[in-house]
Amino acid sequence: MSPDNDVIERSAREPAVFATLYDRHATSVFRYAAQRLGDTAADDVMSETFLVAFERRAAYDLTVVDARPWLLGIATRLMRKHVRLEATAWKGMTADLAAQIVPDLIDLAGARIDAHRLTQRLAKALRRLPEIDRDTLLLYAWGNLDYASIAAAMDVPVGTVRSRLNRARRQLRRAAGIETLEQETDHGRTDTAPQHA
């Protein structure tokens, strides 16, 4: 099987081979979008992602073998058109999300916290995350990308990805009411990423 970068390189001369990329990654893009926006909007994002990718394929870094981070990056930017829809989807989704997170956070807090209140706080925190932090967080959590792949997807240095994830993590902990003395540093680095990079 030809690797993704080979397929994209070939598609410059033979455009039809680009459909191979769709066959490989459409479901992955859909899953990521569906968890953020719901199935209906995810159908559109999935389709649009590959139309944009096809038109931008000349800009693809052919040294990168796996095209999934690139595609999820495109999907992420497309989803910014759906902020209101995502907010609605988050409201419906956070109950399930919090139900899974809350018990562990309670353990982390070392005390019994009102689960209902914690759920609400957490949902609110997730909704209120700055857009770039939320995108980074969700590429990690639901896009199943590692730090380097997120950096490629968002076209930022890996250090920025670490900073953003630390920042998002702090928000979640703060929302959960876990005041910890743990230093939120990343191997001595301080959080220097601009909020609107």
């Binding site: 030809s2 397929v7 070939r10 001369r13 033979e14 455009p15 039809a16 081979v17 680009f18 459909a19 191979t20 769709y22 066959d23 459409a26 479901t27 859909f30 899953r31 569906a34 968890q35 199935d39 995810a42 159908d43 999935m46 389709s47 590959f50 139309l51 944009v52 096809f54 038109e55 931008r56 399930d96 999300l97 899974q100 997170i101 562990d104 956070l105 967080l137 990690y140 959590a141 639901w142 199943n144 994830l165 998002a168 993590r169 979640l172 902990r173 959960a176």
Partner: protein, 318 residues
Amino acid sequence: MDELTLLRNTRDDSREPSPTALAAGRAALLGRIADGDAPYATAQHRKKRRWVPRLTWAAAGVAAAMTVVLVAGNVTLSAQSAYASEVLRTAATETIHYADLVAGSDQYLLSHTHARWGVCDQTGCVPNDQILDVYMPADPEAEWTLYRDWGKMSGVLTGESIETSRAIDGRFYGPESSWVNVVYAEVPLDGAATYEWIDAQYNGGSASRDENNFVRITDILRSGLVPAPQRAALLDALSRIPGVTATDNIANLDGVTGIAIGRNEMLRAGERQEIIIDPNTGLVIGERAMSGTTLFGWGLSQELSLTAIETTVVDTAP
């Protein structure tokens, strides 16, 4: 376990796009590909429109050049063989990548085959015309339809001469027998790799290994349903089989002319098998088998079989 890991554990990998959405997205992409390689800035301002089936003829120039070159290459058998193989390997591939039919999400790709195959018994063979209409849905989970008129023969499903059958994945004649005898996604996209892929699957049969390779490639191509990238790779692979030559202006059973790509099998008394492609589109438009050819292949004596294949997009199946 930290918060990020917890959040990651909530990832839902069970979500799947519906087959309809998947097919619609693919059709939209293929439609855009067929539209041409427009710059993104321009495309962003392009008015959204409903996708309609289309056939792009962007490679007319390349195809015309291909025809000229093929005719010019018809000098001697050896020269023509080498030359045709090389020309076909490049020109056919280039041509075919720019022309393809795409079925919309609720449509079918229809492969209409008009075949004149012989019916033989102890007294000899007589020609028999069959019609085979295969409706392949864009939705891979939807049923395919086969309308088959067996001509003078009785159908194998009902005993009637005309049969209509429906089956998922084109398995009209049993679960182990798909109409499309290969998973297209498994066909390498590179011609050389495709040739090796075909050759590696050789397990005997036919009069020679080359003939068997040729037959197995044409078995795939004759469905008329092979997507353009794989079709191009298969044509490319075909050109790599020793002894393959090209002949211009060969008419299929319905009188449509194209370029015949074929080979003479010396171990079968010079029998020549050909697949006919439309030089303007690269689409497979028919097949032909000739018997009793001379050493140099041009003294045709008897037509063993001839077909016409036409691929279109339709909204409904019978």
